[in-house]
Every structure is written in C-alpha cells, then in structure tokens.
C-alpha cells in the first residue's frame, strides 16, 4: 500500500543568548517581503538545512550575523483533521487560519489521527506577529516558523505542531512532529531566560520521492 500526500519536515533550533532581537528583526523585515516565495524565509530554511548537514548555519540582518547553536530535524505527517480543515478552507470562506505554533515535551509517536500535542507547554507563538514567526508559501509548500523567546518556560522540545487556536490543547492541529533522537537528532533543550529557540515546519504538497 502506497500513501501519497503532503510531506512534513520540521526543524527545532536553539539560537545564541544575544540573538533574540536579531531574530525578531529578521522576521519583521521578512514580513515586508510578502507571504509568497519570500526570499528571507527560503534563506532561513536553507541555513537550517546547512546546519543539519554539519555546516555553519548563519543568518544576517542589518550587517549583523547570528548563528544556529543547536538543531534537531524530523520528518512527520500532517493530521487527517488538519488536511480536512485545509480542504474546507479551499472551498469555504470564514474558517480560522493556521496561526499558532505550539511545542511540547511529549514523546508518543506521531499518528495522523492525533488531535493535540501530548504534553504541551504554553504560550503558543502567534505567527501573524512578525516578531513571533511567519506563515508563508514557497512554491508548493506551506512554511510555518514559530519564534519562542528566551522567557519561554524551560522545556526539552520533543513535539511541535501548527494550530488554529491560541490556547493549549484547543483548536485544529495541522500536523505533529516528534523529535525523539536517533535519525531526528537529539531534541533541543531550552532553559528559561537564556536564549530563544525556533520551530520551523515545511509541508510540501507536491513532494517527489525517488530512488534508484
């Protein structure tokens, strides 16, 4: 049995302790470039992949550079409920958009029927606020980035997802990614009042699988 459908790739990233203003400035500027094929979002994901491949992951804003300290990557799945919501959005107006990025520390394996994170930590990042992230389209992908400030409670980021609602354990969940170590790398750990972290998701609706 072969399952088609959107493919979801997610990165959880720790940044340096002085990088929060630069991260926020980066996405405030990024927001001025629109929400379709945004070059700063493309560059952001390129640098995440660079870091994952053991190269330097460096971003630049206003002549200042800042570097990815630590990264974890996982490939997971959109949920059935999330895809159904997308289909409804395509047909009918007035439905809540995908707006919030949430993280948690639950380790239960992701399944397409799940409707929430298992052990979520609040608050969720509001991706419509440029200093908290972005929600854009690049080619046939949806790209969601949530910025979690240094003040976010201490957590080992083992799961993340995109939601329609702001409150933990509520709203429709688009996808669920789990960072459990192994191929996904060691999950990143965030300590309150030290440094910010980001969670970035790419959901590709026209991915191509090849082997040979």
């Amino acid at each position: 049995m072969l399952k088609y459908g959107p493919k979801d790739t997610c990165y959880a990233t720790n940044w340096g302790d002085k990088d929060q203003p630069l991260l926020e400035k980066y996405f405030i500027k990024s927001a001025t470039l629109g929400r379709e094929d945004n070059p700063m979002v493309i560059e952001f994901f390129d640098q995440l992949e660079n870091k994952w491949n053991d190269h330097l992951g460096i971003l630049q804003i206003d002549g200042q550079t800042f570097e990815i300290i630590d990264i974890a990557k996982t490939k997971d799945i959109p949920t059935i409920q999330g895809m159904q919501w997308c289909c409804r959005q395509i047909i009918a107006a007035g439905l809540n958009p995908w707006r919030y990025h949430g993280v948690g520390s639950g380790t239960i394996e992701p399944r397409s029927y799940q409707q929430r994170l298992t052990t979520e930590t609040e608050p969720r990042a509001d991706m419509t606020v440029p200093a908290q992230g972005s929600a854009t389209r690049v080619s046939q992908s949806l790209r969601f980035i949530g910025i979690f400030p240094a003040s976010f409670p201490t957590i080992t980021v083992r799961e993340s997802a995109v939601f329609t609602n702001v409150t933990a354990y509520t709203g429709v969940m688009l996808n669920r990614q789990v960072f459990t170590g192994g191929a996904a790398g060691v999950p990143i750990t965030h300590t309150v009042s030290v440094a910010p972290f980001t969670v970035a998701t790419d959901i590709n609706f026209a991915s191509v699988t090849t082997w040979g």
């Binding site: 159904q84 395509i90 929600a135 046939q140 992908s141 026209a206 090849t210």
Partner: protein, 211 residues
C-alpha cells in the same frame, strides 16, 4: 533508475451524458447540492458513473431517477499553479476560490504539472461550477454543460477547474480524455435547437490518496 513518485494530490473526473429532457432535473440536483451541501448526491453520482463504467451495457440510474446514457473517466493532474492557489487560500493571502469549469476540445499533449490553461479553450464557454464541496480530504467539483443553455463547446476533450471566468484565471487541474466525443454526441449544428444532450462533469481532487 527506480521509482519516481510524485506525491501531489490525485485528481480524476467523470464525464457523463444524459438525455436532453433530463437537463431541468440535473439543474435541480445541482441546486439541491448547493443549498443543502448534501454530498451524498455527489457521491451517488460518482458511484453510478463508476458502476456504468464497470458494467457496460447495464443501466446506471441516479437516486433521483436520472439515467446515465454514457460515461468516461480520466485520472489526471493537479497543476502547480492550482496547488499554489490552494495554499494561498489556506494561508489567507488570496480569497479567489475555484468557481468555474473550462471545457476544450483539445486533448494533446497530455496534461503536465506546468500547465496553466486548457489547450484550445473558448473562454466564453466556461460554466459556473454547479457544485464545489469538500468531504474529508477530498474536493468535489461539478459542472453542467449544455448546448440547450448555450454554454457548451461541441466536443469535450479536456476540462479544468478555474478560479474565474476570465482569461488569466488560475487553473487548478487539467483532465483530458483520449477521445473527444461521447455517445450520444453533442449537437453541433446550433445552440438554438433543443436536441442536444447535456454533459455533467464531476471532478474529484484527493489530497491524501492511498493506492
């Protein structure tokens, strides 16, 4: 080289011909779908088309009593620009939802993901979607094309769903059939005569198909 698997949404469509007297009932069926969002009517339509295909020669009658005279099916492509428009709608950066069916007699070359329009379409012949609904991870689009109501090309070789009636509207998908005519054939002499068979096109876009 081994498998190359494109995981984009799958798309297939039925093109069914009815008797000319059935046009008012077909339009009533479409009105009911629009007003009640009763997708079981669409599912019955698609199921009966499938049944007609599987059991050639046997009658296929819809739940509302209409008999399908002939049917063909084609599985084709959601194109890049259409998929991008879907994502724009999901994100809220566009509100131009899919609203029209385009018909064209052309069907060569085969659909490609880079297509942005039908081949030899007369834009004026686009029809407003008779229904557009979502069920689970599927999108259903339907259109009625009838020379009786002055809206059809003389042959239907390919169809596509657009987000507008004007040239330049965004194409969601392109479905083509190897033969351009159905039996009974559409009348080609005049739009004013009432001896033409209405065609109903029903298209399904599935976001997470399993094969």
């Amino acid at each position: 080289m081994g498998l190359i698997q494109d995981n984009r949404p799958r798309d297939w469509a039925y093109k069914a011909v009815f008797k000319e007297k059935d046009l008012p009932s077909l339009e009533e069926m479409a009105r009911r779908i629009r007003e009640t969002h009763d997708v079981s009517i669409i599912e019955d339509f698609n199921q009966k088309c499938e049944q007609k295909l599987q059991r050639q020669g046997e009658k296929a009658v819809l739940d509302n009593g209409l008999e399908i005279e002939a049917v063909t099916k084609s599985g084709d492509l959601v194109v890049n620009t259409g998929l991008q428009q879907c994502l724009n709608i999901i994100l809220g950066t566009s509100s131009a939802r899919f609203s029209h069916f385009g018909f064209s007699p052309g069907n060569v070359p085969a659909p490609a993901v880079t297509d942005t329009a039908l081949l030899v379409e007369t834009v004026a012949q686009r029809v407003v979607l008779s229904w557009s609904e979502s069920v689970g991870m599927r999108l259903y689009f339907g259109g009625i094309s009838s020379q009786t109501s002055g809206s059809a090309p003389t042959q239907v070789g390919e169809i596509g769903v657009y987000n507008g009636a004007a040239a330049g509207a965004i194409l969601l998908n392109r479905t083509s059939w190897p033969t351009t005519t159905l039996s009974p054939a559409q009348n080609t002499t005049s739009f004013s005569t009432i001896k033409t068979a209405p065609i109903v096109v029903s298209c399904v876009v599935q976001f997470c198909p399993v094969v």
